[in-house]
Symmetry: C2
Subunit: 264 residues, 2 copies
């Protein structure tokens, strides 16, 4: 427990300017760290086996996490809420912050071992959506998540927060080979079902009927799936929608598709 | 078309400080206005019959909306993007802004006329969620939306944007009487189905099976439904979820419930 009163203290470097997405991306990559925010999420990160570099807390948040802090040998910096706001650049509603070490991503084999229902995300760009998809997948019985090389980072603070820490309980990794990602899953015994508005799509319920090992494939917010992924999936599926309406956003679509898949 | 070069011009008062939620709430209520952002959403607002007070555009956005501007007698203020940012307090990615007149809310009778599937939102606080629910409802075949007196404003800029303008195409209003809102719907021939984690909840698919006129009832992000609404609904329903997982967020839950309801 280290009380600080200087927001410029170099020991607080991990927590600078949390709203500056570009700066955070490079800072976190360079130092191999990620940030968790809020008592519940910090607790889940530590309980999920992630090693803390440090914690940053306002005094009134210490009690709720006392047991978690005890488990860790990392320093806990204590600052007033006003000073925390100066460091991070915004008012941290849920008080507790932790800087944690990134671990090497596990091999695809490990993530898929024993999995029956897998989400595969291509190039989502919005951290909120990535978090929402992890959360819905976990709630609706999906066992694992695979990400294309360029999909937005599920360990970005906002992804973790929106996902309520599901990224810590769901095995996930990135596929090394974008081009052959879906054929590779087919070879492993998964039926790959791509969610798309394309013309040969089946209603989702029909597309997943009778499928044992399922890989449900989602594309980016703007343009959906790449033509390569759309064409190389075993099946294409659509959520039946009212005429003339914009499609569901990817978070809503993934929730519906996971629900339909969970009942296959 | 009025070119301006002073971000302090009083004619731009409708567009000030768009990120200051509290200020916007009181400003918009006082002047009976709301703001639409982005070419597609502005177009839908005008096509939905909303009267513009004014438009605010950067030069490169004029062409895309030329036909819409022609339909309206309201002034269109043209400012550089840098000056628009000074007025609004942030970078307006999609350029076009319009300030529109709020209309009196229609009576519940009008909104429910002919409706078979209605969403009823209690006290959602997050504008993003309100917009997402409108969008999912419209995509999945819901005909109308009713809001409790304290539910967040669907005409707030962010609600409209996330909802892709579904609030302009879906009939909606506020119920005047919070306490008896659900019994009143039952008297009108709707079966009210409340989404809740409560102990006597049926799986959603079972709860909506065979229902003709359906009112699907959703509670707030934090605490869900009030006990009054939970108890006064005809049925309670749950989305079956994996053990030990936090519930779905309200946007995901509403998408799943609308999907299940659409297939009843």
């Amino acid at each position: 427990m280290v009380e600080l009163d200087d927001p410029g203290d170099p020991r607080l470097a991990d927590y600078r300017d949390l709203r500056d997405v570009e700066l955070r991306k490079s800072l976190e990559a360079e130092h191999g760290l990620f940030l968790a925010e809020g008592e519940k999420v910090v607790r889940r990160a530590i309980e999920g086996g992630h090693e803390a570099r440090s914690f940053l807390m306002a005094p009134r948040w210490l009690d709720g996490l006392a047991d978690v802090l005890e488990l860790s040998s990392a320093p806990c910096y204590v600052l007033s809420e006003a000073l925390i706001e100066q460091v991070t650049g915004f008012h941290v509603h849920r008080g507790a912050l932790a800087s944690l070490r990134r671990r090497p991503l596990p091999p695809v084999d490990d993530v898929l071992a024993g999995a029956r229902s897998v989400l595969v995300l291509e190039d989502l760009v919005d951290h909120t959506n990535v978090g929402a998809v992890f959360r819905s997948g976990a709630a609706l019985g999906f066992d694992a998540v695979l990400l294309a090389p360029r999909c937005a980072d599920p360990l970005y603070r906002r992804s973790i927060k929106v996902g309520m820490g599901a990224v810590f309980s769901t095995p996930w990794t990135r596929v090394p080979d974008w081009y052959d990602a879906l054929p590779d899953l087919s070879r492993r015994g998964f039926t790959t079902v791509a969610l798309t508005l394309g013309p040969d799509s089946l209603p989702i319920e029909e597309a997943v009927a009778g499928v044992d090992r399922l890989a449900l494939v989602l594309g980016s917010e703007g343009h959906g799936l790449s033509s390569r992924w759309e064409a190389s999936a075993d099946r294409r599926a659509v959520i039946p929608m009212a005429a003339g309406i914009d499609s569901l956003n990817v978070a809503a679509a993934s929730a519906v598709a996971c629900y339909a898949a969970a009942r296959r």
